[in-house]
Each structure stands twice: as structure tokens, then as C-alpha cells.
Symmetry: C2
Subunit: 321 residues, 2 copies
């Protein structure tokens, strides 16, 4: 039986994780788009995690954390706090493995998120919308149920799971010259960096985030984890700050983190919808926005872009008007 | 050199057409969706022509008509009247083959359609928005330029081109038990019917259209081509009536044509956006709406659904509110 990872995943850890979760995830397609390539002046390869189970890459990390639990741990269940894609990913992983899931969500989370999570059979526990309330409510749930807390990003099993997206991308496109992910808490970014560093050491690794929550850019340049005074961005998956496990990996392996404005995010999102005919969520448009905003860096390159998710509220889109 | 088809395409004609247009089209993917399968109680295989060049299957027919012209005909160019996907398909085919294109469009067509067509290098000629004005303006253009008129559907080259979508679908999924397309002018429907009849004679062939423009359903049951008194549907690609070349094929090979309401169309469109994370236009949602509305017919079947196109105006979506 596999055990939980207690240090930075090796390439072998990432490969074993990929095998272990193969029945719980989709091997998502890599798409290209000639007209966006012309605009970017580069050859872009989009790894379509918007087509992943639960509509986001988060399924990889949650699945990898779940499959590594012992039989008795599984029986007690999984727990997390999230109002986003990680909530649904943990709920779905638990459902597939036949164990309970407990999801702490702020009471102002959209009803659609609560319903979707419950749709996967999870118990949703609402709390006051503060970080302190989230953590204390989660602690109560864990104490009551004995469930295992699966952190959304600062967890080596989760990092190794997210790292499998880049593994599939590099296997599908063996001659990338650069790769770029968005940075929220850094789970996907650190996983992408590790896989790329091990497998394709010549490939440049970039991060991207909204200017409005540029904590990762500031952390990368100051050398310690910075916070966001506000969280006023459409890219709601990227508001979180880096973790103690994700930041060192990011600091070590990235070339740079690029920040983009809100209009640049919406324009990149619209470009993908219109030209590629696929649905991506705002957070997911951030790396393309960064590529388009930095032609001096990316022009002429073969760039892997991880499209992270496709969960949008169709009743509240940023295009109309 | 291939010549223009002057009678109903044979399987050999369809195969030759497919070879002839291979450089002008994408071989589009076939997608499946476990959660929509559960709702439908059937196994659905979506042929994603929303990912086709110009965002719609129309590229196949326009390309096949264009490649069959002689060198002197190509030099004089292509002409058509359309404000929809056929306009862009003809413009794009002409652009790739390096010849002029003249597109007659009603003056009330959305500016975005005019710009997109001009973006492919075509000359757009505006006319009064009546069928008579369209035809007389087109006649003037043809007289002035010597261009060849490519009818949007009532043309055997166009029918053979559209038939190549089903060819690829049956090759990808050799054990379908049913196939369904939308019916507008009948180019795609008749092509789908011919390919399926030749290649998989046991497969049931169905059509689908909006109740609001149920001319094909009425024609199928009355035995002669019927008109639509109104054209008040969101499925703007399906307002046209059948043609003299398409109707006999449809009459001969279809099991039935199902009609669906406007709310059923929007619900099916939304389901595809939310569950499959791909963008389809309203006309494109009609066959899925028909499958969902008729479980007595489709439950337990392996159904091929041709997703026809993904060109929507993101500023005017039918979901909000």
C-alpha cells in the first residue's frame, strides 16, 4: 500500500501517484488553436483540465490524497474547507471510494457550489465567512468524525496529484520550451514545477496571477510568504496565499511570476470561449493573459498552458454589456 | 480532377469528398459525458463540429463545393447568400484556395457576422432583408463577377461534404444504434442519412427541429415540402425550409423527425455548457433536446449526435436572469 508523502515528491512519487489515481481521473486532451497562436506569436498547447472530473485539476490532488489513506482512515472519511473546486473534488473522491466527506463552506458561498458538493454525497457544514471560523469549524468536524483533513494545496499528496497534469502534458508534447500555470495556493504551480524540473530540465517554468492578488509575485521577489490585503478579483480560485510546502518549490524552480489586470483576464477568457469553443473559468484564463501580455518572453516559444477549470456560473458571466 | 456532383452522392462520392477536403477541415473529436448519459439513460457520442474550422460543420460542404471548381471557375470566385455559418465557410474556403468570395447578407444581420466574414477576406454585399432581395442581389453579383453560386444546402457537393461528418463519426464509433442531426435546409441531415444508410444500414436515422419552425416534420409526414409561416426560434440556423435535393433523401431514410420547444433547446444547450464545458450554439442543442424528450425511443441506445456549431454571441446569451 502507498503511504502518505511526507516530503517533496520525487519523479517516482509523481509517477506512482499518476498510476494510483488513473481510475479516478480523466486523461484530458491537449488542444491547440491556430488563431490564438497567431495572436500570441507562439505555439500554445492547452492542457484541458476544464474537462477533468468535477471540471477542474483539483480532482487529481484530492484523489491522490484519498487513495493514500488506510482502510480505517477511509472509513472515518475526508474533510476539508473550501467553497471552490477542491470541495467538489474531495466530495467526488470520497464518493468513488465509498467513504464519507465533510466540507466546511462559508455561509455566503454560492448556493450552486453547496448543491454541487452535496450532489456528490458530501455533508456540507456552513460557517461564518472568516478564515478563523473556517479553521475552527473544520477542527470541530475532524474532532467529531475522525475524518482526515485534506488541505487544498499545502499537502505533498495534493502537490504530487496536481503534478500529474504536467506529466501528461509533457508526455503528449515532448518538446515544449516553456510551461505556465496560475498561482493560488501553489499546489498546481509547485507540482507543475517539480514535474517539469525532473522531466524536462531545459523548459522555462512561469507562474501567473491577478495583479489584484499579487501575493505570489511579491513572495517570489521578497523571499518570504506575503499576504493579500484585498481579494478583489474575478479569478476567485487565485485569492489564497502560498503555503509552507508550496512556496519553497516555487521559489526554487520558477523563472518569473507575471501579473495581469482584470480586463486582461476577461479578454483572455473571452478569446478562449470564442476561438476554442471551450468553457474556462476566470482563474483559468490568467496564464494565457500573461502569455499575451509578455510577447518579449513568449514569442517564438512552444508554451504549455494548464487550463485549470471550467466551472462558471452561466447566470453571471463577465461578458454582457 | 473531380467534377461537380450532379446526382445523389454515392458512398464512393462521399469518401472522395472526404479525401479532397482533408486539408481544409479538422477531423473533429467525438466526446462523451457520463453525467448526460445518466440523464438520457443512453450512451451518447457527440461529434464536435463546434470545433470545426469557422466553428461549424458548414466548412465541410463549402470546402467540397470549392475544391470541385475548375481553375477558371475558381479564378472568378465563389458567391452565396447567408448571414450564418455558411457565409463564413464559403469565405474561408475561398481564402484558403486563393480566390475571391462574394457574400450577400441582409442589412439587419449582426455586425459581428459581417466582420467575421470580411475577416476571411470576402466581399460582403448588403441587401434588403427579404428572400426576393437576397436572390436578386445574388443574381446581380453572379452576373457582374462570374462567380459560382454555392447554395447553402440544395447542392450535391455540399450534401456530400456535410456527409463526411457522419463518416468520421461512424469510423470512430462503429457500433452506434441510432444517429440524430438537426434539420434546417437539410444539407447535414441528408448527408448524415446517406452515409449512415450506406455504411451502417441497421442504424436508425432521426431528425430534430424546433417546434416553432416544424416545416421538416410537416414535410416528412405530408410528403411534400412545407413552409414556415413564422421563424420565431432561438435556433437561428434551422429556420430554412427543405430543398428539392435534400428532401427526397430525408423522406426516404429517416425514421422520424422530433420537434422540441424553445425551453427544451435552452435547457439542452445549458446542459452541454455546464457538463461538457464546451460551447455550442442554440441550433446545435436541438438533437440532444430531442433525445432527452423521447426516452421511450432513445433509452438504452448508443446514439450519435452531431454537434453542429459553436458560434454564439457572448454578449447575448439565453441563460442570464
Amino acid at each position: 500500500m502507498m503511504e502518505r508523502l511526507t516530503q517533496e515528491p520525487t519523479l517516482e512519487d509523481i509517477r506512482q501517484s499518476h498510476e494510483a489515481i488513473t481510475d479516478l481521473i480523466h486523461r484530458t486532451p491537449v488542444m491547440t488553436c491556430a488563431s490564438i497562436d497567431r495572436i500570441a506569436g507562439a505555439k500554445l498547447f492547452f492542457k484541458c483540465e476544464n474537462f477533468q472530473k468535477v471540471g477542474a485539476f483539483k480532482m487529481r490532488g484530492a484523489a491522490n490524497a484519498a487513495v493514500r489513506l488506510s482502510a480505517s482512515e477511509r472509513e472515518a472519511g475526508l474533510a476539508t474547507h473550501s467553497s471552490g473546486n477542491h470541495a467538489q473534488a474531495v466530495a467526488r473522491a470520497a464518493q468513488v471510494l465509498g467513504c464519507p466527506a465533510y466540507i466546511v463552506m462559508p455561509e455566503n458561498a454560492p448556493m450552486i457550489k453547496k448543491k454541487a458538493t452535496e450532489g456528490y454525497g458530501a455533508e456540507v457544514i456552513l460557517c461564518t465567512p472568516t478564515q478563523a471560523a473556517r479553521e475552527s469549524t473544520l477542527a470541530e468536524v475532524v474532532a467529531r468524525t475522525g475524518a482526515t483533513f485534506i488541505h487544498p494545496y499545502d499537502n505533498y499528496d495534493v502537490i504530487a496529484g496536481q503534478a500529474t497534469a504536467a506529466l501528461e502534458l509533457h508526455e503528449a508534447v515532448p518538446d515544449l520550451t516553456a510551461i505556465i500555470s496560475p498561482v493560488g495556493g501553489g499546489g498546481l504551480m509547485s507540482g507543475t514545477a517539480l514535474t517539469t524540473h525532473y522531466l524536462r530540465p531545459g523548459v522555462q517554468i512561469f507562474g501567473s496571477e491577478p495583479q489584484a492578488v499579487d501575493d505570489a509575485w511579491r513572495s517570489f521577489h521578497s523571499g518570504h510568504i506575503e499576504n493579500n490585503p484585498t481579494a478583489n478579483t474575478i479569478a476567485d480560485g487565485l485569492k489564497t496565499t502560498l503555503g509552507e510546502k508550496t512556496f519553497p518549490i516555487i521559489k526554487r524552480h520558477l523563472e518569473e511570476i507575471y501579473t495581469v489586470s482584470e480586463p486582461q483576464i476577461v479578454a483572455a477568457m473571452r478569446l478562449v470561449w470564442e476561438r476554442m469553443k471551450i468553457i474556462i473559468e476566470p482563474s483559468c484564463a490568467v496564464p494565457l493573459a500573461a502569455v499575451l501580455a509578455n510577447p518579449d518572453v513568449f514569442a517564438g516559444q512552444r508554451v504549455g498552458i494548464i487550463l485549470t477549470g471550467g466551472n462558471v456560473d452561466l447566470d453571471h458571466l463577465p461578458f454582457a454589456g
